[in-house]
Amino acid sequence: MAPANPLSRAVSTTAFRLAAVTVAVYLICAGLIVGLLFWQTNRILTNQVLLTLHSEAQLLEAVAQAGGLPALARAVEARSQPDGLGLYYLASSADAKIAGNLSRLPPEIASSKSGGVFRYTKGGKAGENARLGVAIPVALKGGARLIVGRDIEEQRHFADEMGRVFLIGFGLLSLAGLAGGFVISRIVLKRIEAINIASRSIMHGDLSQRVALSGSGDELDDLAINLNAMLDRIEALMNGLREVSDNIAHDLKTPLNRLRNSAEAALRDPTGEEACRRGLENTIEEADELIKTFNGLLLIARLEAGALEDSAERFDLGRVVRDVAELYEPVAEERQLKLEIDATDGPAVTANRQLVGQAVANLIDNAIKYSAHVAEAHNTSSEVNVSVTTLDEGIEISVADRGPGIASADRERVLRRFVRLEKSRTESGTGLGLSLVQAVARLHGGSVRLEDNEPGLRVVLTLPRRLAE
């Protein structure tokens, strides 16, 4: 689509078109101003000439009244200098020239009553350049005719000269404008081209490429900064996706493989029906685990896409947390754990009750799972503490245990999908529990943080205060 020729490319750019339009507008404005100025100047000059002519005509009329035609003829003759600016022509009623420096009655004036512009040649010599004059007729008694005029050739020269200067000026202005537009468009083009080249190479898969900045901090730099920020985000998302698909490959393929193995083993088992039955039961169990993982993944993905925002309802957070904790109480008791619940009714929040419930359930489930180990190993009882606190920064749901805890270096990592610390690999679970808690928190505009419970782990799910409004 883009022409190869740099000139035609520059001409086809927006920058150049803008420059051209701007130049055109300037030219029109300048033309109007200059034209007005010229016209006005011309008018003033012409008026002055006419004023002079009228006064002279009055004077000559007075001479004619006083001394008749001969006196007038003398006066006209006295004024008629061959190279002077004053132009005269006195004719008898029979149209014969009596006096004056005009060789003939200008035809432009002959028929006019108010006078006007005419052309004449000096001394009536043919071949000489016609000069421009302006004249008025003076009415005389007895049919004689007098024309009083003035040479305005100088004025015409001046006008011509001015016109030429303006034309040249306009020409230069347009050239400069267009050239400027061309240069600006070249500069802009070059930088846009750089952005385009970077974009193209990014489109071809090199996501690490970035658009270079000129350092001027102008709009193009802003554009480049935004593009780069967008690319950073895309790259992060892509990496996340890659990580997830790697995880899926591992965490879904492993149980799939187990499932396949158990089916195969059942088929191969020579002991017959009972083995087959066991194999099938095994298969279904594995399939159920897989479905669980799959559902968890899907739910997290949909939460991250913000798909469940409109399913919020009003409920008592304290009561829901207490309810969920009570659901786990017998389980905790069975595993020699004391579940301490520090949550009174309130605050009322607008959120997704099921998801918040599930997040709290995941946290309590984890706490029981990991601290029960420690309790069993040391044959002591241990406790899990669940509490809801309303602070200025937000509403905190905290679940704390006395288990092995998580080293501070690993705390960020365990929030990611499928991340299971080596120690917990032996425990049942999908590795999605905390990721889901985080996704739920984020969906509600909150956050999750992991702390040292000295000893043990404390997970705090913070929901923004505005949910309680």
Partner: protein, 241 residues
């Protein structure tokens, strides 16, 4: 239509007529066969329009409706049926499994919602629970299973003349089980109806709650009433079998 207002009340052990509206032939046939083996009869409709027609004409006890159907989607089928005054209980099957989708399904007029993939035992338990659901809700004041009596007015539980002290949650658990006496109730059903949770609690917390309840109602008596149904859930009933 004569059949439209006629609601049959299903009793445990009785044959149940089911219409399966499902476009995947294999799934539909699997359900038909499985339902037959469970002692029920099932017809199949492979798209929404045929399904709607059959549901309007036939007297079915329960409809099992897939959400994604050719010609007329599942939710529209249900809306259409409900607008015509047909109140046959409907179980929706869906590959979508969000809280949102479930709410949408229930709003459209379905009575229960099950996400694919599901266990057949779960489906059967839910379908039987639906078929039995008395419409309109019958206000029974006492549930009786053998010598166990649950008085819904005084919230008292008595077995063989002896009052049994239950926690509020245990009482509700028993109430739900007894309401569906003779039927299989799955863990998910308990979680949904007794706790109102529609999520997976990871650990089998329900088992622990049921075993506590069992300790209270069965421990000191010769004949156990609360039974575990392997691979499915629980049932409360008088007598072995």
């Amino acid at each position: 239509m004569l059949t439209s207002n006629y609601i049959r009340t299903w009793q445990a052990g009785e044959l149940m007529r089911v219409l399966v509206i499902e476009d995947d032939r294999e799934t539909a046939q699997f359900l038909q066969k499985a339902l037959k083996e469970s002692g029920h009869s099932a017809d199949i409709a492979e798209d929404g329009e045929v399904g709607l027609g059959l549901a309007e004409e036939g007297s079915y006890d329960v409809l099992i409706v897939d959400r994604m159907l050719p010609r007329l989607d599942g939710l529209s089928v249900i809306k259409e049926l409900r607008s015509k005054g047909l109140r046959t209980p409907v179980l929706i099957l869906s590959a979508l499994g969000d809280v949102d989708d479930r709410v949408k399904g229930l709003r459209a007029g379905s009575d229960d919602y099950l996400t694919k993939p599901y266990a057949y035992s779960e489906l059967l338990a839910r379908v039987e629970a639906l078929a039995r659901r008395p419409v309109p809700e019958e206000q029974e004041t006492r549930y009786i299973v053998g010598d166990l009596v649950l008085d819904r007015l005084s919230h008292r539980v008595i077995r063989d003349g002896e009052t049994i002290q239950l926690q509020p949650r245990e009482y509700r658990l028993l109430e739900y089980l007894m309401k569906h006496a003779g039927q299989v109730v799955t863990r998910t059903m308990l979680l949904e109806h007794v706790w109102d949770y529609h999520f997976d609690p990871q650990t089998n917390v329900i088992d622990v709650h049921v075993s506590r309840l069992r300790a209270k109602i069965d421990k000191n008596f010769d004949k156990p009433l609360l039974h575990t149904v392997r691979g499915a859930g629980y049932t409360i009933r008088d007598g072995a079998g």
